[in-house]
Symmetry: C2
Subunit: 225 residues, 2 copies
DNA sequence: CCACCTTACTTTGTGCACAATCACGATGGA
DNA sequence: TCCATCGTGATTGTGCACAAAGTAAGGTGG
């Protein structure tokens, strides 16, 4: 036993830890869009030198969570309304494809998907949004894994694990949450039936609804005049 | 004037140069799949220290061109037949989407696309494969740029700029080359007409043909028994 | 003869220091 | 008052050195 936290194959490398920490801080909104990522500050906070911090920041840039200007440092990426539209278009395309492939690949773990549905529905009243968000991500990731071998899961992660995308669930009303859970069940049924078109349609509907929620959230909350 | 080679905004950073060099070597087949990327060796060859080399290797891993095992170093990724199928599926999905969006976005530079068609066709007899490959990549990139704002071009690059994908054109017969050029012209016409479905269909047909060529090349050339 | 352990050697991961560049403010002149 | 130029501080890019982990070879015991 090595005593890992949650990741099985954690290399316990400093760069990995810093990367995970910064990633979580960006996704949780602790580090807001446009804020700078100064290497020395992060290094001091994490108790390491700048070397692993540099590597972590470069990885964040590769993940699409930060932007690096040469000799000027890195900042957390800022998304405008058009960027979010593009992001959700790509989610529909890629996750729809993943769902369709998962339906015919025979590699979907249906028991696991159903168990995740059960656990999400159990957290409905009162809604435990952070936990539901985590389980929802796990559910989608299982579909991605079943729909692609190597490249697809990485590509989808690039568009799913974005700041405003992950905070979508938090804005769901209980009614909206029920419909989302029902779509999950439908998706499992479509995959179990081996119906690629059905699976793609359910996923598309699922994501279109999420897109509306995010769009409302962005237009209602005026960012910075 | 700064005297750059070909990239306009070259930061003249060592890490960028090493990254570009290694990338070209992998895509050109100089570094074969599975071969190791030793930091010190590369540093010596490039005339720098290990620090920029490390950064370049990590970037290659983010590009999907290398795989890093902690404490064990990096190797050039190896693709099997199933991986290539997944890759071309994703090309169809993403480039088809890009073509469809380019047809309705109004951001396609039709003159530039036509000029690239002209230049490719001028290199037909005898076929200058390296030059055609470059121009073909430029052509596709223009479509990607017109079809997406930020994320799409990066995602598509991830599946287009793979070793075996870029060497596809080299395996085209003159006949196959003519059909490919005709599809490029069709795509320009579809985009000019603003017909998203047409553009997607042309791109899908274009890539399906390429997939066949790559599939034949892989099955005919037995890699390692 | 084979399996296991020990021992060097190789390679990566991290810390640290210096140089180059950028941002910002002060100072001087028109 | 406004603009240009010149410091000064802050931050990143790179080189270098040491520590840790992995690998492979050789030796020893069964």
């Amino acid at each position: 036993m090595t005593g890992d936290d949650d990741v099985p194959n954690a290399g316990e490398q400093a760069a990995d830890r810093v990367h995970a920490t910064l990633r979580a801080e960006i996704l949780d909104g602790v580090r807001t869009a446009g804020s700078r990522l100064r290497e020395e500050e992060i290094a001091a906070a994490q108790g390491t030198s700048r070397t692993p911090v540099r590597e972590a920041i470069r990885r964040l840039a590769a993940d699409g969570l930060a932007e690096i200007a040469p000799r000027r440092g890195a900042v957390v990426v800022a998304w405008d309304a058009d960027d979010l539209d593009e992001l959700f278009d790509l989610r529909v395309v890629l996750e729809g494809h993943a769902a369709a492939r998962a339906a015919v690949s025979g590699r979907a773990d249906l028991d696991r998907l159903r168990a995740l549905c059960d656990r999400m529905e159990a957290l409905r009243t009162p809604p435990d949004y952070p936990a539901i968000t985590r389980l929802n991500l796990e559910f989608h990731r299982e579909v991605h894994r079943a729909g692609g071998r190597r490249v697809l899961p990485e590509l989808v992660a690039r568009v799913v694990e974005a700041p405003l995308v992950q905070s979508t669930i938090r804005r769901y009303t209980p009614d909206r949450l029920d419909r989302s859970f029902a779509q999950h069940r439908d998706l499992v049924a479509a995959i179990e039936a081996g119906d690629a078109d059905w699976a793609r349609a359910v996923m598309t509907a699922h994501l279109r609804a999420a897109r509306e929620v995010v769009r409302d959230a962005v237009t209602n909350a005026h960012p910075s005049p």
